[in-house]
């Protein structure tokens, strides 16, 4: 069993200890290994027994500010483990700000701060004893525009997460390969790992960025409009990838594309003016929304 895992993996600054815990967890191979959050487990039957399960994330009265301006105005929301949750809503409603609070990237903006609680499983990532670096290892992020490190090769881009986040290398080569395979990019790049990552096509670059965030073995991946800069075919590939990835991680995806939310998300939350108007199973949000504003938005009457 690995019941203490979430706490230790996030608060522990020592890389060696974390790897031990990881290995123990992996070796246990116990189907019950995924039982961190009883609320989430009920809905994670699709998780393969051997997969690294994701963790649930819960927001409690989350508020986010830029200086004095309140952009996220008290959100309570749960992202269930090993599910895809889509966040939809008009531009400027606070979707991106909200997900940037989850891995504490919001506070990187000068003058910005967040209030309330973000619980990774049961750990408050804003607790004073928590190492922000460990939080970001556990909660990966994929950005709107593909942004591979321009000075690095394809291989080094994927290895960057491991090299940047700790001195421990482990078996870098096999980790890079497995991350590239998980991102569906291995067959396309295996013969040219030493070429610059910036030389790939936009869609390949975005999958490279997904591989980069997978390499550090996160429990949650946040995606901020990951397909908005991509063509439809590249978008489709990323969407197929998301369906595959949710077996091992919890995914939160911000999207402006309603069809995309309908295609990839198990659950969808509709946001308006810094608040969550409605959240529920995707099908229900799109076909039978409980709030008239949700209906207006999903049917294209505004936003």
């Amino acid at each position: 069993m690995r019941s203490p895992r979430p706490q230790s993996s996030v608060t522990d600054v020592e890389p060696e200890r974390r790897s031990e815990i990881d290995e123990q967890g992996g070796e246990a191979g116990d189907p019950a290994a995924g039982m961190q959050s009883s609320a989430a487990v009920a809905t994670t039957q699709q998780a393969a027994p051997d997969a690294e399960p994701g963790l649930a994330v819960r927001l409690e009265q989350l508020r986010a500010f830029y200086g004095d301006a309140e952009q996220v105005k008290g959100i309570d929301l749960e992202f269930r483990a090993n599910q895809v949750t889509a966040i939809i809503g008009p531009s400027g409603c606070g979707k991106s700000t909200m997900i940037r609070c989850i891995n504490r990237m919001h506070e990187e903006i000068p003058g910005a701060h967040a209030e309330g609680r973000v619980l990774l499983d049961d750990l408050d990532v804003y607790a004073p004893s928590v190492d922000v670096v460990a939080v970001r290892r556990a909660i990966g992020m994929v950005f709107q525009k593909p942004n591979p490190f321009p000075t690095m090769s394809i291989y080094n881009n994927v290895a960057a997460g491991l090299r940047l986040s700790s001195g421990r290398r482990g078996d870098l080569r096999s980790k890079v390969e497995s991350a590239l395979r998980s991102a569906g990019l291995w067959d396309e790049v295996s013969g040219r790992l030493d070429e610059p990552g910036a030389g790939l096509s936009g869609g390949q670059q975005q999958r490279l960025c997904i591989a980069r965030s997978l390499a550090v073995d996160p429990e949650v991946i946040l995606m901020d409009e990951p397909c908005s800069a991509l063509d439809p075919i590249a978008t489709l590939k990323i969407e197929e990838l998301i369906a595959e990835l949710k077996k091992r991680v919890t995914i939160v995806i911000v999207t402006h594309n309603m069809q995309q939310a309908a295609r990839v998300a198990d659950r969808t939350a509709f946001m308006l003016d810094g608040r969550v108007v409605e959240v529920g199973p995707t099908q229900e949000i799109f076909t039978n929304p409980g709030d008239p504003r949700t209906e207006e938005y999903v049917t294209g009457k505004f936003g």
Binding site: M105, P110, V133, N147, P150, T151, A160, L164, V216
Partner: protein, 297 residues
């Protein structure tokens, strides 16, 4: 449709004669400005080559000046000590100014950002950039020569040049560091990189080619300065590898030679000037080659 009718229909698309005239005038004016600016440049290079090349020879580069400036031209010697002195003084100045300047730039961009202290530092760096070079020489003269009661030394010249280079290196590096996209910093942080590692592994490698260009231009500028060296490193005849002693340098050698009544010595000044320009040109070409590899827009 008949031709006159078509002419009438498209009359509003025609360029008016007065606009054509104004356009021609403006183009001529800016071309003339460019040509006028080129005249002194071309003349400088022409005179340098005409007067300087004739004094170049193997012994010109391999012998020290003899100090004999009144007799036969063959005995005045070359400029070996000046070339080596310039290289030594500038190398030490670079070793001081580049790490500090890059450090200040990294602090300003990655940590200080828009804080009042960072803004104050930026303001004073801008002020320093505009300080006449002779003031840096005077400052070192008063503090390290008069102040300590000791004499001139190569390292004191280096310190004066380092002061001169510091604001240039800092500003150039800061501008390049700011060109590194914030998205790269964010992805590195989002991967769980501590800030210092993000700077060392992502920001600095991305900025490196641009920073090398800016830094080499600062080095080139320092190499050509006379005023900060006049009363800090002084001048001497012998080649010297001890930065604690008097040290010769190309700008000071030129300064001393060009006022000589002996033609051969004045010609040596031209030869030394051509040598200095050639050295700076090489640095500039290197800087350009490196900046071509830059991955930043």
């Amino acid at each position: 449709m008949s031709a006159p009718a078509a002419e009438q229909r498209f009359a509003r698309f025609a360029v008016s004669p007065s606009r054509r005239r104004r356009d021609r005038f403006a183009r001529t004016a800016i071309l003339a400005a460019t040509l006028i600016a080129l005249i002194p440049l071309v003349l400088i290079v022409y005179y340098l080559l005409r007067k300087g090349l004739s004094s170049w020879s193997t012994s010109f580069f391999t012998t020290d000046p003899t100090g004999n400036t009144f007799f036969k031209s063959s005995s005045i010697g070359g400029i070996k000590s000046a070339i080596l002195g310039t290289i030594e003084i500038v190398a030490l100045a670079s070793a001081i100014a580049i790490p500090i300047g890059v450090g200040v730039a990294v602090w300003l961009v990655e940590y200080g950002r828009e804080s009042w202290f960072a803004q104050t530092v930026r303001f004073f760096i801008d002020v320093l950039t505009g300080v006449p070079s002779i003031l840096f020489g005077l400052f070192i003269y008063i503090v390290l020569v008069v102040g300590t009661g000791s004499s001139y030394a190569g390292y004191k010249g280096s310190l004066a040049l380092a002061l001169l280079m510091l604001p240039v290196v800092t500003r150039a590096s800061e501008v390049i560091l700011q060109l590194v996209p914030g998205a790269l910093r964010e992805s590195a942080l989002a991967l769980g990189a501590p800030r210092w590692r993000m700077i060392l592994r992502v920001v600095l490698p991305t900025a490196l080619p641009g920073m090398v260009t800016g830094v080499l231009l600062a080095v080139a500028r320092a190499a050509g300065e006379t005023a900060p060296l006049l009363f800090t490193a002084a001048a001497t005849l012998k080649t010297n590898f001890d930065l604690g002693q008097f040290m010769n340098s190309l700008p000071v050698q030129i300064y001393n030679d060009v006022t000589s009544p002996t033609t051969a010595v004045v010609n040596r000044a031209w030869g030394a000037a051509l040598t200095l320009v050639a050295m700076i040109l090489v640095l500039n070409v290197i800087a350009r080659l490196i900046s071509r590899r830059s991955r930043l827009a």
